[in-house]
Symmetry: C2
Subunit: 368 residues, 2 copies
């Protein structure tokens, strides 16, 4: 009786609220009429109901109407689990990303959803919170639900755990960051080139001491952007003091303290006159730091990777290297459905260009 509830090992949902009451005897359990019930009510066979529900041909007007009436009167709704079990296809795809609430990822997610919808599929998504274990847990849970395909923004650098799934036919596309130790379709922004262009823009405006604050090494996009920074500096023949380079977590405190350090020229390096920021969150924190009253007399230039809302309304408006997250999502989803439609060729990598949007903060000349 209480066996199920008393087993502490089992995580999932508590027993259905109804399970306790009717023990599937006596009065018919209140929940969910089935096709069988509909068939009985309409006085037809089971399969006929199935036909009506699925709009298959070969049912007379008259019968169809009787069945429809039974359906609405009973409030029947087809059980898709059973359907999936029988058909082997779920018409749903999974999306695993870092944080659904991140303004960079939410348009990506929305774009995937739109493409899925256009293909008659539902989207199930989950946030990995940048935790490799959670990514795996989520991706495998989605596979257990037999999603037809998977779009993943990796949080881990080893995706071998997906090999059996892919072999079993789950189409898989990675986006924003490459998969680890596995070959699969991939959609990326051109992070290296974007960063190079952004930093070159600062150089072109006369800056020689440029600070880089970005995400942790180990995150592919962060590495590429840092590489772009170094390339631009090298091309301009500028030295890079190691105190100007600060990859790490992107929380406000860390970014703020590194920024202040660079502005004050601690640890041997001379003070920077411009920042190149590795992403969204960093940019916003830098804007706050630079907007502080005591900084206003010596304005510091800033170019950020990733566009963000209202960037144009700040003073100064923020120059950015923009990616198009919706475009990334759309491309990834399209790649996915291409696979689902049977494409069987080599995994391909799609690279999307970035756009430098000049607004003001990147054109401030060096001071001091």
């Amino acid at each position: 009786m209480a066996a199920d509830a008393s087993d502490p090992a089992r995580p999932p949902l508590p027993a259905s609220p109804h399970a306790a009451g009717a023990h599937r005897g006596g009065r018919r359990h209140a929940g969910r009429p089935t096709m069988k019930d509909v068939a009985a009510q309409a006085g037809v066979g089971l399969k006929t109901v199935s036909r009506v529900v699925n709009g298959e041909a070969g049912v007379s007007q008259d019968t169809e109407q009787r069945v429809q009436e039974a359906i609405t009167s009973l409030g029947f709704r087809r059980n898709d689990s059973a359907r999936v079990l029988r058909k082997g296809t779920t018409a749903s795809i999974g999306l695993v990303l870092e944080d659904l609430a991140d303004p960079f990822y939410s348009p990506l997610s929305r774009a995937v959803e739109e493409v899925a919808r256009a293909h008659g599929a539902l989207l199930i998504n989950g946030s990995s919170a940048e935790d490799p274990e959670r990514e795996q847990e989520l991706a495998l849970a989605l596979c257990a639900r037999r999603v037809d395909g998977l779009v993943i923004v990796p949080a881990s650098d080893d995706h071998r755990y997906l090999a059996p799934e892919i072999a079993a036919g789950v189409a898989t596309v990675f986006v924003d960051r490459p998969p680890g130790r596995i070959a699969a379709d991939l959609v990326l922004s051109d992070n290296f080139e974007g960063a190079r262009e952004g930093v070159a823009h600062l150089v072109a405006h006369g800056h020689r001491r440029i600070g880089y604050i970005g995400d942790r090494p180990g995150i592919h996009t962060a590495e590429e952007r840092l590489r772009g920074y170094r390339a631009a500096m090298a091309e301009a023949g500028l030295p890079v003091a190691e105190s100007w380079v600060a990859p790490g977590r992107t929380d406000a405190d860390r970014v703020r303290s590194d920024a202040v350090r660079m502005l004050e020229g601690g640890r041997g390096g001379e003070p920077v006159t411009a920042f190149f920021s590795g992403n969204n969150r960093v940019t916003v924190t830098l804007v706050r730091v630079l907007a502080a009253p005591e900084r206003r007399e010596r304005p510091v230039a800033l170019v950020g990777f990733d566009d963000f809302e209202l960037a144009d309304l700040l003073s100064p408006p923020v120059t950015v290297v923009a990616q198009d997250p919706a475009d990334l999502g759309r491309s990834a989803a399209e790649l996915l459905f291409r696979r689902l439609d049977g494409a069987d060729d080599e995994p391909r990598t799609v690279s999307r260009p970035t756009t430098l949007i000049v607004r003001g903060s990147g054109e401030i000349p060096p001071s001091g």
Copy 2:
């Protein structure tokens, strides 16, 4: 053969890429090993595999190990559809909202996801794009998938279509806007009181001609906020010229033109000296309008409903009536799981307070 593909009426996914090849005869279809396969490989019975997979007691160390090996060697993963079919519970909940990419809703969605995760459930979500038909389509698709519960941000004003589902035991909670023609749990911000407070704040700073630009009537939150606006004006004994009240779509063009009209005092009303904005999107457009160079000499006050990122960095920083979307989502999800845990009492309505955040734009005195 081609029957399925040729039927134009059927929307779902194209036939599985594999279905075509092996016709489940001859060589065993490559996809997906089942528990039966694992049992065969390990030389044990079917149920024993099930026991191992579910961590049930009553399997010897030795056998368990053999089974585990077979599982990894075959790359087996339990088919949750079959499990759901058998158990009747999916450990997943659905969320239908307006737009996943909206900065107001994405934290809400994320909060629901976190609560779901804490209860071992997965979240499936979809965007209704403010289209009642699409809301229904989505909600019913989720029900067909037998989600255990549903969180809905309504786009329609008639939810009778959900009655059979609720009767069948799908826990349902509405959030942000009330359900139509149906009783259900509900989580709301106190829109009326928030708007009243925001407008009163403008009045307290000397404004007598205040414009309201908000969302369409018919949207509950918009109506409440407009009601709050009128109440605050009435309390202060101020008349409201109808040209100061502009509910409608929230696209930039509409908002801009209405704002300009009010600022110039067209249609008989005198020009307004302050705006109360009905939501996020409207506020941002108003900020743009007011930031135009030609407006700067005669600053106009602004209080917006909904907080938004960087509001504090604009000049002037924007005073807002803030809701906490994550809190709304969390409350709704908790209400949902309360039901799933068996709570069977009357539907309840939870009202969450709003917070006036004073930043500057709302404290500008009337000019002219």
